[in-house]
Assembly symmetry: D2
């Protein structure tokens, strides 16, 4: 950490910062520049990041600049290989084969789920998605089939053999959801629900963590660190678009974040072009772009009758369109050095 | 709701939209314009907002434009007077007298809390804030005194007579926190934690809802609607800055949102200049600005020794600076037609 | 355009809106809904968009919703084929063959420019970029070789046969720049410099329009419309990243915008991954992603010695890295149905 | 400037950075930390900021952190008193008396301008605003009366005695506009039109610089530095709202920026609540808030018949409403230690 003093900071002010740094157990190194004095704080700043940031409130201090990244377990520095996360039986996320998670936004009925599951499997998906507990911006919208939905997902897995991913909203539901799901999803709106993250860290099922709508990449990795620091290393990250001023798409897909994440973390990174765009006709080109950028897989919403969906109809692909997407994706995957 | 057809939509496509609108129980009215046909959907669109939005996935449809606001209970339309929310004994939020919530970010010790409580009361604050359960971006940071912190807040209320506001993070903690607190706070990162919001709607203590970092005003009111639709009308809103590209302040305080909220909802609106700016020296002028813009009160972080705080040191005011702020605030409040 | 009346709007207020709509030469159609009355304004709203938006200031009006897109010449509606724009002799932007614009951020010397030009041509680039007039955020930074830079670009074209693109900053420089350049570039900071846009519309050289840092897609197309409405249909659009809260990349590349633009306009769309990311190691994956998303080409910064560059060193590729990028790009282009 | 090396940087990589720093004429100081080596660069980094930033492209370098602010002339550090800028005869911007700039968005006719000018003067405004050259997002909108508008502004000044502020769009118009106007305005869309800024720096009339829609505070001060570095110290800054995800207001007024600017620069700061909100009913409370936050004045749009305005009707106040605002403002100004 670097402490930058104000231009007119007095010697006494500098001395007080130096002594405060020592009191916190760090080694201060003063450098007198032409216009400013800076004090480098030597030592692992992560343990006492908050205490160090308080130095900003001392007289004569202009600003504080952290040098180290605040996350450790999620960092690629000490873990150069991408993590391969086993999901259900026989599927790996983070390997050469892409993880293709497809299915309806919400589980609505047995018929709807089975029809979708069969079709996405036939098209080449290897993981089935489907929401049983739904976080909706309106309390007046469909809130999911809940436990009945979980039971339907069980049946779909049994029939198709695909592992299942579904969202968990509350810490008290984790145990029940984990009994039925192969991957537990944390939605964008819960990405900094730290109680939920910690509780997910205390069980072993893989956690699929969506980036919050206005989360920086660093905060995203800190959310992963929350899960990991409680003992569960199986975290999968998902870029699903961030909130910006642009309204032509539901969110702004940040593929730059995918590239940065692939550099900075060993955790696998999935792209969700359905939530990113909000309109089905934009899903395929951004799915291709996500794989070209280096993502380890995709999450895509598919519904047999989007005009009757209980949620996210406008962004859901019909099965035939999903199959066409997969066919083209196969070629892009190959160029990217991946398989389907 | 207005359905806008594409320029080259066929008669069949228009007919299909019209029949879908009828199937959903609404009355369609077609208007043929020069370049576009639009279909107005007459009826309360809130009940079936999602189903109506699915019309977008029909062939020939360009876009869907909602006409009604999606919230009802929070709207000022049917409730023209600002809600006056009783807090503890004798304090009202939303009346002529401003609600001034002050205290430390985290409850750290009895001495720290009592010293702060006495000083903010002496300066004119009427509600004591203090965090017992802390949502921290790093799992390695201090996570709060938890239940011990709640007990200390009890003692501070007993001694000072001030009602107490503290944050609740998880649905399973609500009952315990509600026993000790007069107002239950939902933090910005939980502003769309719908499980928490619903659970808070099923108890009666007032709920203090902070705006999420990238929440629109409409989404903010929908979060309030979640609490209210479960039976608890006592919601207090808090503008605490949104996330933008600007980094000189921790967040960007959106006082325009305060003005819009005062127009659109009957719920009281509080401004938090401490979190909005992240630096103590910017707190006072934005506190004054908040009251001048029409807010019903302030939430301000005060700590006797900011350089030793466990959280938010750089944005905490020392007691003497808080007292000076309050003295000046008294004059702005009077011009704004309010009292302290 | 749709005028939405307030819930409690009186009959007189509705009548006044209707008569104002008629005064403006439009045909008003009133629809009385359950909670709101709306008035559809039939006629081409583009001619009098401002006057129509003034209806918002009439008593009883809640809001105004435009139905038509405000641009016409740039729209794909009346022009379904992508425009093919001839550049210099023998190069077309918007056709099956991708436009690859590569070269240094700034023209710094004859040696630097020639070395770069030869290397990018050998790697497969078909257009040479190089800045002679430089818009710099600091007045103390290198401002470009100006006219001397233009002369060097001429020489590079002569030697390599590649057409040349360079930026123009001021209307009074257009004539001189157009003498030397095959494409005139408008930078992100000038994307709404309407005087410059109009002047560029009054000459015939193709205009390369970068999206402004916080420009919506619709505003971007309106900027193109400015050039086109003055008589120059040869506009090429460039997505180069927008400004968001994320700081790990210099800007946030919005490939969703590329997909939306390809749907809504016939103008060719180029992606600039260099400015979008600000770091050379992120350029290649986002170049691939851009082509996978459907872009018509790329703009990429190349410099033989990035650590000595006068501008944008950290985001410039060395020639060998650019060559490697091109080799891989060839495969992605093929899958995307394009050639290099 | 601080150079942060990667965790596994080799000694050779460190040595190369150190020698590059020396080659640039700076004094490198190496600090070996627990996980990282950092190299402090001692010397005034502003002269060679770009060359120093290129160090990022050397092998083993993780990032570069500037220590000094990039602006000098605009900084309060060397100029502790707020600049008092004389405008016309007898008006000062930046003194105890607030600068109240009011008038129509566009000059439309002699009658409209004179009626507005008289009414705002009677209400207490001391500077008349009015656009003659108009930057419009649509080429099909009214573009201003141009030179005829300037002549009308002259007549309004003659009659009312108020100095006049009007916008200049192109460098070639500066001389003509400066003959008629007392303050030359640069609009938000031209805030980084460096050619215009430099040309304005070469004349002496005060320059009113609006913050660009997605400009950081630091970039805003660099734009001021552009004008000042050419010789004109008379720059007035204007916060007019930034672009965010919120759409309930036209822009998001950033009063935190006003507070930061008042700390970091000696230049006067004006708030424009009309453009910030886009709706007349939100203007007054944000005008009060702006003054409470410490602004040196306001810019407010007034039009006698907003429903017939050629631009910005919905955000224009009628004269009587402006007079009511001023009456209340007088009280807020007094508490803020200012006069009208």
């Amino acid at each position: 950490m670097i402490v930058v003093m104000k231009a007119h900071a007095t010697d006494d002010e500098v001395a007080r910062v130096i002594s405060s740094v020592r009191d916190l157990g760090y080694d201060p190194r003063m450098i007198r520049g032409v216009e400013r004095t800076v004090i480098a704080v030597v030592g692992d700043e992560r343990g006492k990041a908050v205490k160090l940031s308080n130095l900003e409130s001392l007289p004569g201090v202009e600003s504080i600049m952290p040098v180290l990244k605040p996350y450790k377990l999620a960092s690629r520095e000490g873990h150069p290989e991408t993590s391969q996360i086993r999901v259900g039986e026989g599927v790996v996320v983070g390997g050469r084969r892409l993880a293709i998670m497809a299915g309806p936004c919400s589980v609505e009925s047995e018929a709807q789920l089975m029809e979708t599951a069969r079709s996405v499997k036939a098209a080449g998906a290897n993981i089935l998605r489907g929401g049983a507990f739904k976080p909706r911006t309106s309390p007046y919208s469909f809130q999911g089939l809940e436990y009945e939905g979980l039971a339907l997902l069980d049946r779909a897995r049994k029939e198709t053999g695909m592992p299942v991913i579904t969202e968990v909203l509350n810490p008290q539901d984790i145990e029940a959801v984990a009994e039925h799901a192969d991957i537990l999803q944390v939605g964008a709106r819960n990405a900094q629900n730290f109680g939920l993250l910690k509780a997910l860290g205390r069980q072993r099922k893989p956690v699929f963590l969506k980036r919050g709508m206005s989360m920086t990449i660093q905060e995203f990795l800190m959310a992963a660190e929350y899960v990991m620091s409680e003992g569960n290393p199986n975290v999968i990250l998902c870029e699903r678009g961030i909130r910006t001023f642009e309204t032509a798409t539901r969110n702004t897909l940040d593929l730059g974040a995918v590239v940065v994440l692939k550099e900075q973390t060993h955790l696998p990174v999935i792209v969700d072009p359905s939530h990113a765009t909000g309109h089905w006709q934009y899903v395929a080109p951004l799915a291709f772009a996500g794989i070209a950028a280096g993502a380890d897989g995709l999450m895509i919403e598919v519904h047999p009758r989007p005009d009757q969906a209980e949620s996210d109809g406008p962004q859901s692909l019909k099965p035939a369109r999903f199959a066409a997407l997969m066919e083209k994706l196969r070629q892009f995957a190959e160029v990217a050095g991946r398989t389907l």
